[in-house]
């Protein structure tokens, strides 16, 4: 597992705080991460149920369980990334480099980094009906940036593909990804792709 210092933003006081990006997570790491996140998921679920918040306003990945994804890390093409800040896992991402190829017309068939899963820790979610603002900001951005970096390193010129959950579509569109339609094989989620030019734009400060 390799590590690199970065920064994320703590909402309280709006300050930049040091964090570490790890790549090469092991299956056991995902089990530990879910052990740390699971109680918060359950508490949020109980609060949402207790306050009769409509299902449409629930966080879409509330029911996820990273420990169930641990087996996927056994594949050679899979890489797990995680961000640690103040001794807690703040976000996790799993990418694949072989099983998916580019769909953008100009890039069709070329290799890309596919973001299998990306999620911020449940205490970082903004859940308006519960008045939860989220502790750390930019966690998703930093993780997605790692996927673009991985693509450049692999020689894939920044090509990245992913299936965004409905509430995250706007974020990826604004990051420069192109929506390429709903995918019936993936619960009808919209498939998005970042091409080389847009990747350059995304990484440019």
């Amino acid at each position: 597992m390799s590590e690199r210092p970065i920064e994320i933003i703590r909402r309280e006081g709006e300050i930049h705080v040091p964090a570490i990006v790890y790549d090469g997570l092991k299956p056991a790491d995902l089990v530990l991460i879910e052990r740390a996140w699971g109680p918060t998921r359950l508490r949020l679920l109980q609060e949402l149920l207790g306050r009769d918040v409509p299902r449409s306003e629930w966080p879409e990945s509330l029911h996820w369980d990273w420990s169930r994804k641990a087996d996927e890390l056994r594949y050679l093409e899979a890489t797990g990334f995680g961000i640690v800040c103040e001794r807690e896992w703040q976000g996790v991402m799993l990418t694949k480099t072989v099983s998916h190829v580019a769909q953008l017309p100009a890039e069709k068939g070329r290799p890309l980094v596919y973001v299998d899963y990306l999620e911020s820790a449940p205490w970082n979610w903004r859940i308006r009906p519960l008045g939860q603002e989220g502790q750390y900001k930019a966690v998703g951005t930093v993780l997605f940036r790692e996927a673009v970096r991985q693509s450049v390193k692999e020689g894939f010129h920044g090509r990245v593909g992913l299936h965004a959950l409905p509430k995250a579509e706007e974020f990826y569109r604004r990051c420069g990804l192109t929506p390429l339609g709903r995918d019936r094989r993936k619960q009808n989620l919209t498939y998005f792709e970042l091409g080389p030019t847009e990747a350059e734009g995304f990484l440019r400060d």
Partner: protein, 164 residues
């Protein structure tokens, strides 16, 4: 695109702040899947083995039945009901669940689902069960809130009665 210093280094603070604002304006950054087979709703239930026992206890008390009386009406051993209610018996026999459903006026199929004897089919049932779990505390008298949660759960459990 070439590998350059900008790409190797961490992003600038200005860029990060701009992106954080974008993240904030959008509702989520999650990518992956929605499928419940990735999910933990089921896991949450299976990790709450006391739920079935607590529910049976509530159902009995709401009907003003003693354990003895329920045992008699359902033709089940008192010890078996006590075991279920205190969570010691988390896998009751199908006959027991069927008899309890009959006596308490509930759908035996859904009760089987609740105690893990049948494969979960009904999303509404899982949510109702979680709602019940979230609101109920094992106390002597049912509070108004508990009664409401309980009645709501009973409603789901009583819908479309089915036989095993």
């Amino acid at each position: 695109m070439s590998t350059d210093a900008r790409f190797e280094d961490r992003p600038s603070r200005e860029w990060l702040r701009r992106m954080a604002e974008l993240e904030d304006r959008c509702e989520s950054v999650t990518a992956g899947g929605l499928a419940h087979d990735l999910g933990m709703l089921e896991a949450a239930l299976s990790e709450e083995p006391w739920l079935f026992g607590r529910f049976i206890q509530f159902a009995r008390r709401a009907r003003h039945l003693s354990v003895e009386k329920l045992a008699e009406q359902a033709d089940i051993d008192i010890a078996e009901i006590l075991g279920i209610e205190c969570g010691a018996n988390m896998k009751p026999a199908p006959r027991t669940v069927h008899k309890l459903a009959q006596t308490l006026g509930l759908s035996s199929g859904k009760l089987m689902e609740l105690c893990g004897l049948a494969e979960p089919q009904d999303e509404g049932l899982r949510l109702a069960a979680l709602r019940f779990a979230a609101r109920s505390e094992p106390v002597t008298e049912l509070s108004a809130a508990e009664r409401e949660a309980f009645e709501e759960f009973v409603k789901v459990l009583s819908e479309s009665p089915e036989s095993i």
